[in-house]
């Protein structure tokens, strides 16, 4: 009897631990963030997947500073890309706080707390920091002191990056709407109802604001909010990638893994067929010298010849998904992977120059051939 019962007990205990293991892994995708890299004055700034914001030397990947500083608790996560203006780094954490830090030393100047988390990247212009939180409100803060100048209440969360052009602030929301606010006062100028959540930055070019709601891409008059195309462009799958407009061509990617090139005046596709990556693309297509760079959910980083829409190169798989947008300067591409590394690649051939390990804050020399 003892033998039978002990076997059953063992099975039950194994089942219990298996259940615990499965359930603990079923809480959904971890909140690692999708902060992109940005480069200013030979320093690459980015929010790491470990909840810290980093500043590294582009020359050798040496750590300049991190925030929160070593030995203090990291943020829950960082989705917003650091914004550098007038020697100040503005960082917004998912922990419902925005910080102004000295861009060179990382020393805090001020902080501002919101009532709920922040995902959207702020915009800084004319001594004002504009940010959106999931309270859900849009705030205008004095860039020097962090004092609030105005706020605008919304209905839904804002995960899309903000956009500022010609004195108007464009805000895309999960409440299916895009708002145009007067940047000076916060007064609403117009709003547009899309067919679903809007998670892309409303990008403004030549008086037209472009964004996507679910799989539909819209072009609106920036002043009035009136539609500029006969009908929205159907990208075939959800678009979470910020549109990029270069040389009068709009590039955008979908969570179905397609990259489209469109005429921004007519929405007419410019390639015979969209490029198809192996998995979803949330990263924006960052363009330099006719090449489009982006990361994908298949853990790889891609370079496309934008004249033809054909692939130039792709990296071997990193250890995690790449959902943050890259930054490129002086022939080097920087991006963050969910494998907890920042990568610096040669833009010409995709070979890794160096990596920065967020687990131990050290520069890593790549394996030859990668």
């Amino acid at each position: 009897m003892f033998r039978i019962f002990s076997t059953r007990s063992a099975w039950a205990i194994v089942a219990l631990f298996a259940a615990a293991f499965v359930l603990s892994g079923c809480g959904g995708a971890p909140s690692l963030g999708w902060s992109s890299a940005t480069v200013t004055n030979q320093i690459v700034y980015f929010g790491g997947t470990n909840g810290r914001v980093y500043a590294l030397s582009t020359a050798d990947g040496a750590l300049k500073w991190q925030y929160p500083v070593k030995d203090s608790n990291p943020f829950v996560s960082v989705y917003a890309t650091p914004v550098i203006a007038e020697g100040v780094a503005y960082i917004a954490a998912h922990d419902a706080k925005v910080f102004a830090l000295d861009a060179v030393s990382g020393v805090k100047k001020w902080e501002f707390a919101t009532a709920k988390s922040i995902v959207s990247t702020p915009v800084v212009s004319g001594g004002v920091v504009y940010l959106a939180a999931n309270d859900p409100k849009v705030y205008a803060l004095d860039a020097a002191s962090g004092a609030k100048k105005w706020e605008f209440a919304l209905v839904g969360d804002v995960w899309a990056d903000l956009s500022l052009a010609d004195g108007m602030l464009y805000v895309a929301s999960l409440d299916h709407k895009v708002y145009a606010l007067d940047a000076a006062s916060g007064a609403k100028k117009w709003e547009f109802n899309a067919q679903g959540i809007v998670t892309t930055k409303p990008v403004v070019a030549q008086g037209i604001v472009y964004f996507a709601g679910l799989s539909q891409v819209y072009a609106l008059d920036a002043l009035t909010g009136q539609a500029r195309w006969d009908k929205p462009f159907d990208a075939g799958n959800w678009v979470w990638s910020n549109p990029t407009i270069v040389n009068n061509v709009m590039y955008l990617a979908t969570l179905g893994g397609h990259v489209h090139a469109l005429d921004p005046q007519t929405a007419k596709p410019l390639w015979s067929e969209p490029y198809k990556a192996a998995d979803a693309i949330r990263s924006a297509i960052v363009v330099d010298a006719g090449i489009g760079y982006f990361g994908s959910d298949d853990f790889r980083f891609y370079a496309l010849d934008l004249a033809t829409g054909k692939e130039k190169w792709r990296t071997l798989a990193t250890g995690g998904r790449i959902i943050a947008s890259p930054a490129i300067t002086e022939g080097v591409v920087y991006f963050v992977s969910h494998d907890r590394h920042l990568y610096a690649l040669n833009a010409a051939d995709g070979k890794t120059k160096w990596m920065f390990n967020l687990e131990n804050n050290t520069r890593v020399t790549p394996t030859p051939g990668r």
């Binding site: 009897m1 003892f2 033998r3 039978i4 019962f5 002990s6 059953r8 007990s9 099975w11 039950a12 205990i13 219990l16 615990a20 499965v22 359930l23 603990s24 079923c26 809480g27 959904g28 995708a29 971890p30 909140s31 690692l32 999708w34 989705y79 995902v119 839904g156 969360d157 995960w159 999960l174 067919q195 679903g196 959540i197 998670t199 679910l214 799958n237 959800w238 979470w240 969570l255 979803a280 949330r282 959902i323």
Partner: protein, 269 residues
């Protein structure tokens, strides 16, 4: 895992995510959608649970019967012989000792799928909402248009986690603990072997504490699912086996322990 993922997604996960969203579109409240969805899944998996509970009940009746007590008296000191006789007894009465476990394992994938679907549709983390697009059926665009789901339900934010700064939210883990404990207590089978009874009680406590800990860390929407899941289980258990062991301890174990003590005392004298 590469091979397993498409099978899991196509046959379990995606249908559940879309069904849950469809219910949400229909009723317009995510809390209500979770309740209806959990009830529906419990209905589908009900026959497996009923089979498990009947098997357990049969086994339990046998263990409380005269034949088994006589065997205990006769072979109490010969553990191996007693085990053999027990198996014979099971065979004679058509009881499969694993009959209570195997049917219970069949609905597990469905339960895990349900759990994942509730989390995914809630989209508490931005990455979850982004990944949702991979699981929605293209032929039902109204489901995508319903995203994000409104997470308010009877004063609770289903996407938030319980915290001590908002004491009312702690009611949720308390309800999870209570429903899990009651269900565990009702299900537990009285055991003749004191070691086994003790193991069962420890496991019951561990399971309850573990689920309670999870409910403190997970969004309230998941806890709502767990509470409904537990309450339906309690009702189902009641109609199959009654209150079971809810108001008692592992009685057989107590009898066995007392019997053993008595024997030892007699031997000493």
């Amino acid at each position: 895992m590469e091979v397993f993922a498409p099978i899991w997604n196509n046959f379990i996960y995606n249908p559940m995510v879309n069904l849950l969203l469809y219910i949400y579109v229909f009723v317009g409240n995510y809390g209500l959608a979770i309740i209806i969805f959990t009830l529906f899944i419990r209905l589908i998996t009900g026959p497996f649970y009923a089979q498990q509970q009947k098997a357990m009940k049969k086994q339990q009746t046998l263990m409380q019967g005269k034949e088994w007590k006589e065997m205990q008296k006769k072979y109490g000191k010969e553990k191996e012989r007693l085990a053999q006789e027990q198996m014979k007894l099971y065979k004679e009465h058509g009881v499969n000792p694993l009959g209570g476990c195997l049917p219970a394992l069949i609905p597990w994938p469905v339960m895990i799928g349900l759990y994942q679907a509730v989390t995914m549709v809630m989209g508490a983390q931005p990455e979850q909402l982004m990944d949702l697009s991979k699981h929605l059926y293209a032929f039902a665009p109204q489901l995508a248009a319903a995203v994000p789901v409104r997470s308010e339900f009877i004063g609770f934010d289903l996407a938030a986690t319980p915290n001590f700064a908002a004491p009312l939210t702690l009611i949720i883990p308390a309800l999870v603990l209570a429903s899990t404990w009651v269900q565990q207590k009702m299900t537990i089978m009285p055991q003749a072997d004191p070691n086994m009874a003790s193991t069962n009680q420890t496991m019951q406590l561990m399971m309850t504490v573990m689920i309670g800990m999870f409910s403190l860390q997970f969004p309230i929407g998941l806890s709502l699912y767990w509470i409904v899941f537990g309450i339906v289980g309690i009702v189902q258990q009641y109609f199959t086996t009654g209150w079971g062991n809810l108001f008692g301890t592992a009685q057989l174990a107590t009898v066995a322990i007392n019997a053993n003590k008595g024997k030892k005392n007699v031997e000493r004298k």
